[in-house]
């Protein structure tokens, strides 16, 4: 049996709790240092399959108020796919009118996650 301890800073809220994850034979045994459930979820994901929300902005055509519309992945994507998401967004232009939540790019980079608008234009 091999025990490994990993120290992390939680990024789920600005509090930034100092987490300690104990892995036994590569499996998460305990998470300590978190102040809420988000920290537990984050720590378990971070040592096994780390994920991130990606935010960016893409050009919008036909809007009187904006050149660019801000977007985000509607959920977490694998950390390793972050640059693939950015690459997939490189050629995306959305058409006005755009509302918050409108899909700018479905199933981005094969992650199963949509990229959605985060502002109206």
């Amino acid at each position: 049996m091999t025990e490994e301890k990993r120290r992390l800073t939680c990024i789920r809220c600005p509090r930034g709790c100092a987490l300690e994850v104990t892995l036994v034979d590569g499996v998460v045994a305990t998470v300590t240092g978190n102040s809420c459930r988000r920290g537990d979820v984050y720590a378990r994901a971070e040592v096994t399959n780390p994920t991130r929300v990606v935010t960016s902005s893409v050009p919008v055509a036909g809007s009187a108020t904006a050149h660019m519309v801000s977007v985000k992945t509607a959920g977490d994507v694998p950390k390793g796919a972050v640059f693939s998401v950015m690459e997939a967004l490189r050629d995306v232009t959305v058409q006005a009118p755009v509302r918050i939540g409108d899909v700018a790019l479905a199933n981005v980079a094969g992650t199963g996650v949509d990229v959605v608008a985060t502002r109206n234009a």
Binding site: C10, P14, M68, T118
Partner: protein, 424 residues
């Protein structure tokens, strides 16, 4: 002259939350004056996520957070004057503004809420030797160029200062294909939130060089290289430690300054520490009927706390306006000064009237250095009424304690409230 019960200067997150609160409970006229053509202020360009966890219990981007407050303000019946620059606030609350659409407009306000926000400390405040080539931007300017205009300021980047906007832009520029060589921070600790160091620098293997600063900018027309040196404990560059980073862009994230030109004109007393107005428990400034909130009052890390603070200012401004309209005098205040000691740099508010404070009053503060294993203590004259242990306190993170009215009233005659740090 136009009249409004409450005039709010600035339509960013502070102004919107103040205006919404000022509309509560009675049919008052509330006017927000904004110099931009759109509302929401700086949140428009803060496209990253992490906003709203406290207010909405979900992780929103800046524009999404702002859109919710903008919608609430519109539903609440707040009036807006956009694309209008306030030039003057008189101490009897006449607000003068100009715009291309309306010309010169004067508004007599029952009460005024200052919500102008802050701006970035520019290069001119830093004394970096070298020419003045293109390619030196504040982090917020770069953020606007990338996120709003869709323009990349450069490809090879050095960032001076580890404030949150600098950290956020290190990630943003990297995602857009630029290479960020390093973030240099003069102090031995970062001015940004720890989570931003993790998700914006560590995720992309961007080095954070603590106790380092830029000592030379090379290039006449365009930045060609930036020289970074280590500094000693007196923050002086150590000769022989210079490293030359070839680059085309230098971003500055070296502090935010509350924008108080209007406050000064109105005769509002400013704090030398926060550079914002000195306020009492109602967030009222030294000029009766003028209130302040958000980053114009003191620089915040979290917009959620800006919204909370602004709602308090808006509600008190509304109460003042109601009293004005009814020809009623508000009870005279008996302000007790709040003293910041033992490593605490400042408190907001700076004074409290126990008779007028709410049942629970949030006092916000920052520390001047990194303090581990301390207790935040509150004394009423010599009597300690509160002691809260903290593992770590850092300058980059605003702290708060709640004071209970009953504790202050129970003490009787009170000369001074002291917030201090003690060994835990």
């Amino acid at each position: 002259m136009r009249h409004a019960d409450v005039v709010v200067i600035g339509g960013g997150p502070a102004g919107l939350a103040a205006a919404i609160a000022a509309r509560q409970g009675a049919d008052r006229s509330v006017l927000v004056i904004e110099r931009d053509v759109k509302l929401d202020g700086i949140l428009n360009q803060c496209i990253h996520n992490g906003f709203g966890l406290i207010t909405f219990n979900e992780e929103l981007t800046g524009p999404e957070y702002a859109a919710r407050f903008e919608q609430r303000a519109r539903e609440a019946g707040v009036d807006f004057l956009l694309d209008s620059m306030v030039l003057d606030i008189s101490n009897d609350r006449v607000v003068t503004c100009v715009s291309a659409g309306h010309g010169l407009v004067q508004v007599q306000a029952g009460a005024v809420v200052l919500a102008m926000g802050c701006r970035e400390r520019p290069r001119g405040a830093l004394n970096i030797p070298g020419f003045r080539p293109a390619g030196v931007y504040t982090a917020g300017t770069a953020q606007r160029l990338v996120n709003i205009e869709g323009l990349m300021p450069g490809r090879e980047v050095v960032i001076l200062g580890s404030g949150d906007i600098g950290l956020i832009m290190a990630r943003r520029m990297t995602l857009e294909g630029a290479h960020v060589a390093c973030v240099a921070e003069l102090m031995p600790f970062s001015g940004g939130l720890k989570r931003n160091i993790v998700q914006c620098l560590d995720d992309f293997q961007i080095p954070l060089l603590l106790s380092h600063t830029v000592t030379r900018v090379e290039g006449e027309k365009r930045v060609e290289a930036v020289w970074v040196s280590e500094v000693d404990e007196h923050l002086r560059p150590i000769p022989g430690t210079e490293v030359r980073y070839p680059c085309d862009t230098l971003l500055l994230s070296v502090g935010l300054l509350p924008e108080n030109e209007l406050s000064r004109q109105a005769g509002v007393e400013l704090s030398r520490v926060t550079r914002g107005p000195v306020v009492n428990e109602s967030l009222e400034t030294s000029v009766p009927g003028i209130f302040a909130c958000g980053n114009v009052l003191h620089v915040h890390d979290l917009v959620d706390y800006v919204s909370q603070e602004a709602a308090v200012a808006g509600a008190h401004a509304a109460a003042f306006a109601d009293a004005q309209a009814a020809g009623r005098e508000l009870a005279a205040a008996h302000e007790v000064p709040v003293e910041a000691a033992g490593g605490i740099r400042y408190t907001v508010p700076q004074s409290i009237d126990p008779a007028r404070m709410p049942d629970r009053l949030t006092v916000r503060f920052r520390v001047g250095g990194v303090y581990e294993h301390r207790a935040v203590c509150v004394y009423l004259d010599g009597e300690r009424i509160l002691r809260r242990k903290r593992d770590i306190l850092v300058p980059g993170q605003m702290e708060q304690v709640d004071l209970r009215r009953e504790d202050l009233l129970a003490h009787g005659t009170l000369d001074k409230i002291t917030l201090t740090l003690e060994e835990a």
